[in-house]
Symmetry: C2
Subunit: 270 residues, 2 copies
């Protein structure tokens, strides 16, 4: 067992990132990361509470869960914290009517949101919909607002598909921030509100919870700032330089989710 394994003592709840931890996505589908289907099953059979905490904003929660189920994962929509539903709540509470720059596959999440006469811009991981024309339209909407509000579902730099690294929404958020002189409001990891909401649903305190993710900043750093512990997996977008990140140090690094679950269950069984 890794020398740092004792840092896992007292964990009662586990937050799992999805992309890069459970599976690697690719156009039209995805491939499970070896051992992850079984690892999720073992976690859910244990006494640990489990919730999935993702920044996925290219697919609706329903489509994502459907894909994961087809890949063999034991997961249901109600177990997933994702940014689109959280954003819808914020939009309603603040009377915001978004101009949406999102992927078609997530539009259904905003079915009940008024998008007429927009007074803010909401962007998500839009993939090919991040065309110059669409970016320029979002830019123009922001420039015409007296108090421009830009909401971004996550601020990831990139994610990994089977074919390679792909630009994530954070890059386009930065482009609009710079062009318009605004600061975006991030809904999703690493926003503390997002983690806290997931913990609340899970029913555990931050100090009793651990986040497992492939993003050293968004997953590990964000969770630690909320008082949680966090492991980084060496799958997905992990890069060796992450283990020497200038600002964030994970409580542990594991080869994959299977190894993380092994270590967690050894602690629980003690």
């Amino acid at each position: 067992m890794a020398v740092w394994g004792e840092r896992l003592a007292g964990v009662r709840g586990v937050l799992l990132d999805i992309s890069g931890v459970l599976f690697d996505s690719c156009e039209g589908g995805g491939v499970p990361i070896p051992g992850s289907v079984e690892a999720v099953a073992r976690l859910k059979q244990s006494q640990l509470k489990v919730r999935f905490c993702t920044n996925e904003s290219q697919k609706s929660r329903g489509k994502l869960v459907g894909l994961l189920q087809r890949l063999g994962f034991d997961i249901s929509e109600g177990e997933v914290t994702s940014p689109a539903p959280a954003a819808c709540q914020i939009l309603k509470e603040r009377g915001l009517r978004p101009h949406l720059l999102v992927h078609d596959d997530i539009l259904s999440e905003f079915d009940k949101i008024d998008t007429s006469n927009p007074n803010c811009v909401l962007i998500a991981d839009a993939g090919d919909a991040f065309s110059y024309k669409n970016m320029n339209k979002a830019f123009q909407v922001l420039m015409e607002l007296e108090n421009p509000v830009l909401i971004s579902l996550g601020k990831g730099r990139y994610y990994k598909e089977t074919l390679g690294l792909m630009l994530d929404v954070g890059a386009y958020m930065k482009a609009l921030e710079y062009a318009c002189g605004v600061e975006a409001e991030v809904v999703g990891k690493p926003s503390p509100e997002f983690f806290k909401n997931a913990l609340q649903v899970l029913g555990v305190e931050a100090h009793q919870a651990i986040m497992i993710g492939d993003d050293i900043v968004g997953d590990v750093g964000g969770a630690q700032r909320c008082g949680m512990r966090a492991l980084q997996v060496r799958t997905g977008k992990f890069r060796p330089s992450d283990e020497h990140h200038p600002e964030v140090k994970a409580d542990g690094y594991v080869d994959n989710l299977a190894e993380a679950v092994d270590l967690l269950l050894q602690q629980v069984d003690k």
Copy 2:
């Protein structure tokens, strides 16, 4: 005459921005800003030295000058300082082979540049070529380099076409900087080297020169940091809030180039 007109005393050379000062561009052409054709002619008939200093990076210098000539301007290619030729010189000096993310209309400027097996990325105002696919390719090239070098032709936030404000290369530069964790090298205004090169060709010292532009940061702030004076015109991308910019104060604000030339020639005639 404006009370600040005396600040124009001793000017011997004038650097003129092009887009938003001489003309407003639109798809496939442009419209002269009223009075600008005559203003350029009057300047060139005076004893003042004149050079055009542009960040235009969507068209080659030849295409830009051809368009301006058709609009009635007295201008030749040799009178224009623009970023693509300056970038080519840097690429050759440093043995850099760029992956180009640029508009088709400027590709000819890079005819003599080796683009095989790229060891840097060069971006310009690519317009519709700023697709997700092309941005992702540039991102992937940078991520695969041990020492990623990103060169950006200008870092403008936006420019104005007849139909409205348009996102400029600076926004996409910020996107790649964030995604790759690099800092771009900017060739063009407000880079001091770029202004100094224009002044050298003009044969005047910075304190004898004035920049006239529509960009409070790129034109006015950049020129002032080089020891030049600078006027902002209230045409092109000018916005009323520019006159209360938190960091940059122009030596004067004029309604358009015609007014700037009136004031300059009054000082010369004294």
